[in-house]
């Protein structure tokens, strides 16, 4: 069958499945719309959380990132998984016991403060909206690559599907579609990886293949990879930049990603859907199991694809051997050249592709013809996962599966983010701030309405992505780490932190972190308005802006403690509430909020 129709079949089929689930899982009450009726099994919720969490960036970009930065990219692997330990130990069980529908609701009630609630809503919306832009553009890119429609048509189709199941089913519909999306994306990610691992190492488990023998050389895969990279003048794959400033930056970046992960509202609200406190703890473990299946595979995909590409270009090795002829390169080179993500330039005119690092120190014996500079002038890391089935010469249905998987990753995360945004608007702004006497039926209409508006805004932002779309990581994780995570942890673990302390802490964390990011990336990301280069050496405190969130969090903690120590003690009823949150018993009755 033609590849186009295979892609259409897989993507169309998965969309029909999501729609069918939406009709089946309609929400009839606010509890179903906000928290799926609190009846989701912990394993089911774990699977939904994994899909919620793994975004277009995880699915498409992460392996490419690892492939081209090797050890340094471990910060993402550890940061995006280590956050689940913090969630399970410090947040999920207590927030589930409290029984709120949204994250700002807990903050507002615990700190008995409308300002705290509103600051939390603001942080939530900024973090989630910047995050959702990347998902929407991801849907558009996947559509245009695999179904040959324009980016914007693809985006409209994707948005229409999300609109259908999110508005109809709320959290309930989103939960069950996320489960289906997880199944699609995990197959799409692991099947090509298993094939490649078998081809390169004979080991069917990619995570183990990464540390086993490469059949092409008889030596360990990573040794071969390091050797080939050294020959071509690239820096080592596994080596650590041991300079103190690099080590400190990696430490802080990993920490920021970890606490940012634990503080992202669209992840936290998933744990409101399980029946019991013990389920919330267990569910975080299951979420990490399902995430780990992909995250343990990603570094293998990265290293193997990198080696595969270099072997394709230098089929007879790098020492005194000829590079591959451009005319005889596999067809995926040409396929991806047309997308503008890959570029070849035959600088020395010998009809062959010399790929090496012309800014590094390649070996003298590199190639047989005179070098005029690196000829693989552009290789966008995002190609790696999407082109993986083609690189490994896998059958057409695997390519179609990857297309459906990329779409599933983007749609599931987009839906989770839109849920977090719309519930904050309808529940925290409308119900808890503006009109507390609103009936349940009316609130459900507000919830559906704000979901519809959120989808529309996200679609518009996806069509007109602001220049800072790529800076999502710094902004979303920085804000979640510096504002939401600290107030939630203090809310459970300290009885002393009061309303004034929490608001001062959050505002300090927010202003410091966003200010620091703007100083290095430009005010509101407008190019040319930055005051410092965003490098380790040039930055204000020697810390890159992506790693600053944890410092903002530390300031948040300090300010909250100091201010709380100098202002009125928390009221007794709040202290009683904290005591109650700390004990699992009674979570069932806490559902009627």
């Amino acid at each position: 069958m033609d590849q186009y129709y295979l892609n259409l079949l897989f993507i169309g089929g998965s969309f029909v499945l999501y729609m069918a689930i939406a009709v089946w899982a309609r929400a009839g009450s606010t509890s179903e719309f906000y928290a799926a009726g609190r009846g989701i099994h912990p394993v089911t919720n774990g699977m939904a959380t994994a899909a919620d969490w793994m975004s277009a960036a995880s699915f498409i970009s992460m392996a490419g990132l690892i492939a081209f930065s090797g050890y340094a990219a471990s910060a993402y692997l550890m940061g995006w998984t280590g956050g689940y330990v913090l969630l399970a130990l410090l947040l999920a069980p207590y927030l589930r016991k409290f029984g709120s529908f949204t994250v700002p609701e807990f903050i507002g009630d615990r700190y008995y403060s409308r300002s705290a609630r509103l600051v939390a809503v603001l942080c939530l919306i900024v973090a989630s909206l910047t995050y959702v832009i990347g998902q929407m553009t991801g849907v558009g890119v996947a559509f245009s690559r695999f179904l040959q429609v324009s980016n914007s048509t693809g985006l409209f189709i994707g948005a229409a599907v999300v609109f259908f199941y999110a508005v109809l089913g709320g959290m309930k519909g989103i939960t069950y579609t996320q489960v289906a999306q997880y199944v699609v994306l995990v197959f799409a990610y692991t099947v090509p990886a298993i094939f490649i691992s078998l081809q390169l190492t004979g080991n069917p488990i990619p995570g183990l293949g990464l540390f086993s023998t490469y059949e092409g050389s008889g030596e360990p895969l990573l040794t071969t990879l390091n050797q080939t990279l050294a020959d071509l003048g690239f820096s080592s794959y596994t080596a650590q930049d041991g300079t103190p400033s690099a080590v400190i930056n990696m430490f802080l970046f990993t920490l920021t990603l970890m606490i940012g992960t634990a503080g992202l509202p669209h992840v936290i609200i998933r744990f409101f859907t399980v029946p019991k406190v013990s389920d919330a703890r267990l569910s975080a473990g299951w979420a990490l199991v399902f995430i780990a299946i992909v995250y343990l595979t990603a570094p293998a995909v990265g290293a193997m694809a990198r080696l595969n590409i270099m072997d394709t270009i230098w089929p007879n090795g790098t020492q005194n051997a000829e590079a591959a002829q451009i005319e005889e390169l596999p067809v995926w080179f040409e396929n991806w050249q047309t997308t503008g993500l890959l570029g070849i330039e035959d600088k020395n005119g010998d009809g062959r592709l010399q790929y090496y690092n012309d800014e590094g120190q390649p070996i003298d014996a590199l190639g047989t013809t005179e070098l005029q500079g690196n000829e693989l002038v552009l290789f966008n890391p995002d190609i790696l996962v999407l082109a993986n089935p083609e690189i490994a010469q896998l059958p057409g249905w695997v390519i179609a599966l990857v297309a459906a998987g990329g779409m599933a990753a983007a749609l599931s995360t987009a839906a989770g983010l839109l849920m977090a945004i719309s519930s904050a608007v309808s529940h925290d702004l409308v119900k808890r701030s503006v009109n507390p006497n609103i009936s349940e039926a009316a609130e459900l209409w507000w919830a559906r309405g704000s979901m519809a508006v959120a989808v529309a805004v996200a679609t518009w932002l996806g069509l007109n992505p602001p220049g800072f779309a790529a800076q999502t990581v710094a902004l979303a994780f920085g804000i979640a780490a510096a504002t939401i995570f600290p107030v939630l942890v203090m809310g459970v673990f300290s009885r002393r932190i009061n309303n004034v302390g929490a608001v001062s802490g959050m505002v300090t964390g927010l202003v410091f972190t966003v200010g620091y990011i703007f100083l290095h990336k430009g005010w509101f990301f407008i190019p040319g308005t930055e005051s410092f280069p965003d490098t380790i050496e040039g930055s204000l405190f020697g810390i890159q802006s992506t790693a600053i969130g944890c410092i903002g969090a530390a300031l948040n903690f300090i300010v909250a403690f100091v201010v709380s120590g100098r202002t009125a003690d928390t009221p007794d009823e709040v202290k009683a509430m904290i005591e109650n949150v700390r004990i699992p018993r009674g979570a069932g009755s806490a559902t009627a909020h």
């Binding site: 998984t81 130990l89 995570g207 540390f211 596994t238 650590q240 199991v289 004990i583 018993r585 806490a590």
Partner: protein, 91 residues
Amino acid sequence: MSDGTGRRPSDASGYWKANVRTIIGCLIVWALVSFGFAILLRPLLSGIAVGGTDLGFWFAQQGSILVFLVLIFFYAWRMNKIDREYGVEED
């Protein structure tokens, strides 16, 4: 919203202390494998070879994730036990 058990308040504080002790223990391991073995202490572990590289690299790309998994399931299991010991488990 009441816990409905009628237990003495000292039990609640004992329960919370046991919980916090468990959390601190788990977080020490959490930090050791990721920030420790994978980043700060990696040079010290460079002598231990693992599949073409060293133990620190393995912890950075695989080991820490596996330890995180064990930690969460251990905590969930341990807390269920502590919940029952202090009689605060759910019905």
